[in-house]
Amino acid sequence: MTNAVEIENLSKDYGKLHALNNIMLNVPEGTIYGLVGANGSGKTTLIKVLVGALKPTVGNVKVLGLNPLRDRWKLRRQIGYMPQTPALYDDLSAKRNIMFFGGAQNIFDLEKKTDEILEFAELTNRAHDLVRTFSGGMKKRVSLCCALIHQPKIVFLDEPTAAIDPHLKLQSWNLFHQLARSGVTLFISTHLMDEALLCDKVTILGNGEIIAVDTPQKILERGKTIIKFSENGEVKESVIDSTPGSLAKELHRLGLKQDITSISFQPDNIENIVLNIISEKENSKPK
């Protein structure tokens, strides 16, 4: 599988602040790639370097085999970018916003394609309404349409589902999966750890450094599971790794005696796991 994004030894400094430090990353084509981290961890900076809005201090970056700075005009036809803020014109309608940003690429039959993308985002009935009358979630969807109107091969989405309700979030993720199935690579940043589970692969970023790169399942397995059971009326608790093997081993140790009447599992949630991974990494650094 070829890589849509290749990053080697990337660092970005803002004066004395190291926003990104020695990032090495490959994003396979056609995947939903999650960039997870707390606010200020460097997610937006990394995305802005990848779309060519920021110059790296050091390191090499390739997106679809092109340099985002040197080959910016060739690349901009092939990438979509949805910034963290909606970055739309409030005084224009949803349709005019999409047509305006699509206009930069001289797309053939722009109006028809705009209507199609509005339908895809379930915004057809609000197409002619001013964006200022839209909710935060709807603005995000218009913003997504602006990023997709020229049918890019890779889309960079910076916190696409932040501050929107669970229903719209689910709807957005359905759209992302639909896009991925059509062969588009999605590079999604989020501080919402549960969203990491919806990606094919995840990179955890902390203080501008890569903390972990893995599949969501493997990351979940790095958490702990608490087993609570009652034996002869006494409630006991043991903490095991979240792997199936660990659970079996624990149950064998317990022997599953007749006296054990109930077992409940309380797996670590993804947020705790990610936060623990970050703090373990921080603690392992030489003081």
Partner: protein, 244 residues
């Protein structure tokens, strides 16, 4: 071609923001009226006709500069400027689109200020003089739009535009020949005045409102005003960063 798409969007936005549109046309008219009240209080010995049109030009210069700079800075703070660049719009298209878009507003401002001044101050000029006065104020408005675009490239938010007012607009009031002849100023101050576009607009206005004017005397000043437009276009294109 892409510049025209941006122009169309700017015009649509202006059309949508009726409050902004009304304020940017009514505000200079109100200021001209205040100027009339002030001049009426002056003793008759003061040649107020020498000041009326240059001050009208200053008002258009100030407002066009400020409005354009602030609106372009808003594009930056809202993230739409960055999005335009990443979507594939080029710097020259953005600057060209903006200039053409705000030119319409600048034209209306120039015409409103000119005709209100003529009416309020009962100025009796020939058709040719009025046309040339309009052209000067309009050209100055275009320079102001370009200056606003150029200045906006140094501002991260709207507040950053404000220091440019004492830096560019206030020296224009004192050093460009608007109030006193530039030759009466110390050499270095006159030099600063000659670097400011309002000086050339004031020169043309002073020449053209003479009963026996010579168009020939205004050619160089007109050429310099046009030169400012191209110079600021180039400077703005160079300073508008595509990546930081």
């Amino acid at each position: 071609m892409n510049a025209l798409i941006i122009t169309k969007r700017v015009l649509k936005q202006l059309q949508g923001d009726k409050r902004f549109l009304a304020l940017s046309i009514i505000a200079p008219l109100i200021v001209i009226y205040f100027l009339k009240l002030l001049f009426d209080a002056f003793p008759p010995i003061v040649p107020i006709t020498n000041f009326t049109m240059p001050i009208g030009a200053l008002i258009v210069h100030f407002l066009s500069f400020l409005l354009c700079a602030i609106l372009l800075v808003q594009e930056r703070t809202r993230g739409t400027l960055e999005r335009m660049l990443i979507s594939g719009y080029r710097r020259t298209s953005i600057i060209g689109g903006y200039t053409l878009g705000y030119l319409g507003l600048a034209t209306i401002q120039a015409a409103a200020v000119l005709f209100e001044s003529l009416w309020l101050f009962d100025l009796k000029y020939g058709k040719e003089t009025i046309f040339i006065l309009f052209m000067v104020i309009w050209l100055l408005a275009v320079v102001s739009v370009m200056l606003g675009i150029f200045v906006s490239t140094f501002a991260r938010h709207e507040g950053h535009v404000l220091p440019f007012i004492p830096l560019i607009i206030l020296p224009s009031v004192f050093l460009t020949g608007l109030i006193i002849d530039i030759d009466a100023l110390p050499g270095w101050a006159a030099l600063i005045g000659k670097c400011l576009p309002l000086h050339y607009a004031v020169n043309i206005i002073h020449e053209i409102i003479k009963p026996e004017y010579s168009l020939h005397n205004t050619y160089l000043d007109f050429a310099i005003l046009v030169g400012y437009i191209f110079l600021l276009w180039i400077l703005a294109s160079l300073t508008l960063k595509e990546s930081e």
